[in-house]
């Protein structure tokens, strides 16, 4: 009975927690917007310095087709980078977990990748792959995604406990059975966490990479053009769109995490 009650409470608090996770930031956002609008229209801060939320919304509506277009371009770059970066990260982590040599060889490379700033790579890759190719941006998003996925997956592959390994040996399970029934499920929450962290990084990287040349049309490129031509409200409208894009990526990966962990009580590994 006590187990039942505890479970019920656990689920409930989980639900409240996830509702809170959505409601709380929205509330904070609305309050900030209110103060912002108040500063501009009542206190009289110049529209040139700080465009009011209302004017940003106006621009947002006026440039809606262009915003959608730009979001799609940047979003595609981020998604391609995220998918390939994650696949590469998981695959290499699997190899590194299996063979120590690969682990030793890859460790310095991964460490180097982890500290490479996007701003350093973007101009190089942009000129490498030409001014009309999105590949440079996708590569940057991919590199940014690769690191957290690789590190988390590798950690996940090392989480199997001695008692589980003994059990598998006692059952005379072959190596593919061990991978399927023990190693992968153990690593799964870690892999998903890696992908969730990578999703935000992929969007940021794809967007920031656009500041350093390459084809126009993405959110980053439009933010810099609008700001350069003093259309601050429009620049802010694109910023809003990029925030939305980042949120979509984050929520999608969070949803994926929930879906895969469906039915599992949380709290085993994070």
């Amino acid at each position: 009975m006590s187990t039942v009650a505890a479970t019920g409470r656990g689920r409930m608090s989980l639900r409240t927690e996830s509702t809170l996770r959505v409601v709380a930031p929205i509330t904070v956002g609305l309050i900030v917007l209110g103060i912002w609008q108040f500063l501009v229209s009542v206190v009289g801060v110049s529209d040139y310095l700080l465009p009011s939320p209302a004017s940003i919304v106006e621009e947002f509506i006026a440039y809606w087709p262009s915003i959608v277009q730009a979001t799609l371009i940047t979003g595609t770059n981020a998604l391609v980078g995220l998918v390939f970066g994650s696949i590469l990260g998981i695959a290499l982590a699997a190899l590194a977990a299996r063979w120590k040599v690969i682990d030793r060889m890859s460790a310095p490379v991964v460490a180097a990748l982890a500290v490479v700033p996007i701003v350093a790579l973007a101009p190089v890759l942009n000129s490498m792959f030409g001014a009309d190719s999105q590949f440079g941006r996708q590569a940057i998003a991919g590199i940014a995604s690769f690191v957290p996925v690789f590190l988390n997956t590798l950690r996940g592959f090392r989480q199997t406990t001695p008692v589980h390994r003994d059990l598998m040996k006692a059952y005379a399970a072959n190596s593919s059975q061990v991978l399927r029934t023990l190693t992968l499920p153990t690593a799964r929450p870690f892999i998903l966490t890696g992908i969730r962290i990578a999703s935000s990084l992929a969007v940021i990287s794809a967007l920031v990479a656009e500041y350093f040349g390459g084809p126009r049309g993405g959110l980053g490129a439009l933010i810099s053009t609008s700001a350069a031509s003093s259309a601050y409200a429009r620049a802010w409208a694109y910023v809003v769109a990029s925030i939305v894009l980042g949120l979509i990526f984050y929520l999608a990966t969070l949803g994926l995490e929930r879906l895969v962990q469906r039915g599992r009580p949380a709290g085993v590994a994070r």
Partner: protein
């Protein structure tokens, strides 16, 4: 009375799975027929001959086991008891072929330990339940069956039966972390019984439980062992636990791990395992056995005289 309980159980079992009647009936025959040690003629479950185990560590060799000889008959319940570091878990791991002996031989039902492991001759339970947290209780119990290619229908039938046996039918769809420690341990025991092994290896399976749950689990284990007729090698460091459960208690001394004495248990009027009920814990004979094991453990060997056991080292 446990007799009535046992009868009820095997009836229920027979109704749902006719195939399992045989082991049950055989087990019952052993218990009822032979008054003394429950051994069917001529079968040896475990035979350990002259086994040494030396672990290589950075600081040198550690001799965990020294010249171990032990025979466990089919259907017999043997406990290994001794202080920490006496190698009792190591000995069990050698029988399970989770480690290999440095010298000597281990055979299980006449096969090498490795062959016995590959043939799945034993079921095993560890001190930590070792359940897979992402699998439901039912899926955890089904794990060995799944790994060994038992068809899905037969699997779910067997799982239902096992969960009934350990009294967890209502929890089949729960996840391990929704269960108490005692319940998790019962799931682990159900899992170890999944393939009706003739030998059960248990490494302090109740070590992490509180005293009350522990006594309840011991009674259940006695019942289950009697029902299935499996031989059990049970590692523990609790004297009352060893006395309550076992046909024989193997007392070990530490560093290097040696068998100091094997104390036969003569509990109650008959030594049938089915007769080990809760009342037994309050009987005189029980305390006498506890004393005998304790004295063997502390080296004041009153039964078998000799130079051994006066000093631990």
């Amino acid at each position: 009375m446990t007799d009535g309980d046992g009868g009820l159980r095997s009836d229920a079992g027979g109704g749902s799975r006719p195939a399992s009647r045989n082991p049950d009936a055989a087990a019952a025959g052993i218990r009822d027929g032979a008054g003394a040690p429950p051994q069917p003629a001529g079968t040896t479950a475990v035979e350990v001959r002259g086994v040494d185990k030396i672990f290589e560590t950075t600081s040198g060799h550690v001799q965990a086991l020294d010249a171990i000889d032990l025979t466990v008959a089919a259907g017999e319940f043997v406990s290994l008891i001794g202080p920490s570091g006496c190698g009792k878990s190591t000995l069990m791991r050698l029988i399970a072929d989770l480690d290999a002996p440095s010298a000597g031989t281990v055979s299980v039902f006449g096969k090498t330990a490795k062959q016995a492991r590959l043939d799945q001759e034993y079921g095993i339970a560890f001190q930590s339940a070792g359940l897979l947290p992402w699998r439901t209780v039912a899926a955890n119990v089904a794990l060995p069956l799944e790994l060994h290619g038992v068809a899905s229908a037969a699997r779910s039938g067997r799982v239902a039966e096992l969960l009934d046996m350990v009294g967890l039918s209502d929890f089949a769809d729960r996840y391990p972390d929704q269960l108490s420690g005692g319940m998790q341990q019962r799931v682990a025991i159900a899992r170890s019984l999944a393939e009706q092994p003739r030998l059960l290896l248990m490494d302090e399976p109740f070590g992490a439980l509180d005293e009350m749950t522990r006594e309840k689990m011991q009674a259940e284990l006695v019942r289950i062992a009697a029902e299935t007729g499996a031989a059990v090698v049970f590692v523990t460091h609790s004297i009352p636990e060893a006395v309550f459960l076992s046909d024989r208690v193997v007392v070990m001394s530490p560093r290097p791990g040696r068998i100091r004495e094997i104390v036969p248990m003569r509990l109650g009027v008959d030594t049938r395992r089915a007769a080990r009920t809760e009342e037994l814990r309050e009987e005189r004979g029980f305390f006498e056995m506890v004393t005998a094991v304790r004295e063997a453990l502390h080296g004041e060997t009153p039964v078998t005289a000799g130079p051994r056991g006066v000093e631990t080292r």
